[in-house]
Symmetry: C2
DNA sequence: CATTCCTGACGAACAATGTTCTTGACGGAC
DNA sequence: GTCCGTCAAGAACATTGTTCGTCAGGAATG
């Protein structure tokens, strides 16, 4: 096994592996997801790839496919793993509205706690236990609050989407690409005031990301709106 | 030029081109964007690629880079081209709220009129004239409606995001991947009713996509919410 | 009229990706 | 002791976006 095989390309590269390590941690879905999350936290979602994940686990890309169908499905697993950290408060923590805001605040906090996660929510859907637990709790609270069934379903969808997007935006702001944000800023700033008076007046506020305030406001807007807008039971 | 060069791989392939065509339309940014949009409409966003676009224009991939920086920038141009079709109503068309709903309805209509566009809005940002015209109009109407500046900026952002997402969802529903939607449906359907009673009760409504009703409702929710929720001027 | 130069077009090649094929080794079960 | 199935992994494949160097052709210049 350690004899140089004739097919070795050109990297003699000291063979460090296999026996020098603690025990060569056995491969598993959990290990793969963990390694992938670490890489994403360090290098962002774009820096992720089967090859890099495999390298972190000291193996080749092909080995991952024993435990994971696909890169997409791996991304789903990663997202779901992260969503398990969202706190779902016990009924004793307050009325439904208070508890709902706890969930959603925690959601955004989790998403913003790690580079790439925000982007991931907009790209990937998860139907794993993490996502389902949160969805179940949100639906329960909305119904508890007297929001009708149709409206509850739509409202849950809308809430999750909106907060995912805010998190993704913050993600881009903080970690990823100051270049992208910067170019948008430049473009908006350079718009002529005559043709675009309103953008010219408000463009700073469009990009102003004080997360907490904005999250609070968005949450109130959506809940107030959902409560005061009649559903489609006139169907 | 027509002599078989020694570097030709293995495809003799009758050389049809260059003189048999009407005139070999000259390359230009507009032509590239048009061709790219056609391909996306036909094969979806995933089917798009520099090579395929170039082939449609009867040239090689490298030629495109004379007019276009990047694939990303090309996607931006495509989106902006499409957004030019959004109707921005004249003040005579009604009060601000009516006109705002016209814009947003038109926005979703445009996004849903062509395969891939919905997905594109969630992936790409445009600062071109199409996007700016729409943003300007939305901001103007919100301010006309008495929404404060901070709130107007956030509300515009929220509105655009929400409707982009709805369009993307419909896009996936109608054209692209019945498999993806199908798998989510299956996953939700299979959830045990004991652990997830609310999802179990509402999962159909989560996926129920009657676009018009839902768009109408979402629009009302957001506007009502933005009107009834005080801004952050307590800053 | 001849020459220079510059821009647009393009063939080829590069680096990197996700994924599959095939082989090979290990370990438990008959 | 032998077989067998599962996990690991090397190598290769098909495609991707992008860049390099060259080349034609027309405009500007002498």
């Amino acid at each position: 096994m350690f004899f140089p095989s004739p097919s070795m390309k050109n990297k003699p590269e000291k063979i460090i592996s296999r026996r020098a390590r603690p025990a060569k941690a056995p491969l598993s879905v959990e290990a793969i997801v963990t390694a992938a999350l670490e890489i994403m936290a360090r290098e962002g979602l774009d820096g992720l790839g089967m090859r890099k994940i495999a390298a972190a686990l000291d193996t080749g890309p092909a080995s991952l496919y024993v435990y994971v169908d696909d890169l997409d499905s791996l991304l789903s697993l990663m997202l779901d793993r992260a969503l398990l950290k969202v706190t779902v408060p016990a009924p004793s923590r307050g009325d439904w509205r208070k508890r709902l805001s706890i969930i959603l605040f925690s959601y955004t906090k989790v998403l913003m706690s790690m580079r790439g996660l925000g982007q991931l929510t907009l790209t990937t859907v998860s139907t794993g236990p993490g996502a389902m637990r949160m969805l179940e709790a949100i639906l329960a609270l909305l119904r508890e609050g007297g929001v009708g069934d149709d409206r509850a379903a739509w409202a849950a969808d809308t809430l999750l989407l909106q907060f995912s997007a805010i998190a993704a935006e913050q993600d881009a702001h903080r970690h990823h690409a100051p270049i992208v944000i910067g170019s948008v800023k430049q473009a908006l700033e350079a718009l002529p005031a005559e043709t675009y008076p309103n953008i010219h007046a408000l463009w700073e506020k469009l990009l102003a990301g004080s997360p907490r305030v904005r999250i609070r406001w968005t949450l109130d807007v959506l809940i107030n709106g959902a409560l005061s807008t009649p559903g489609s039971e006139s169907k």
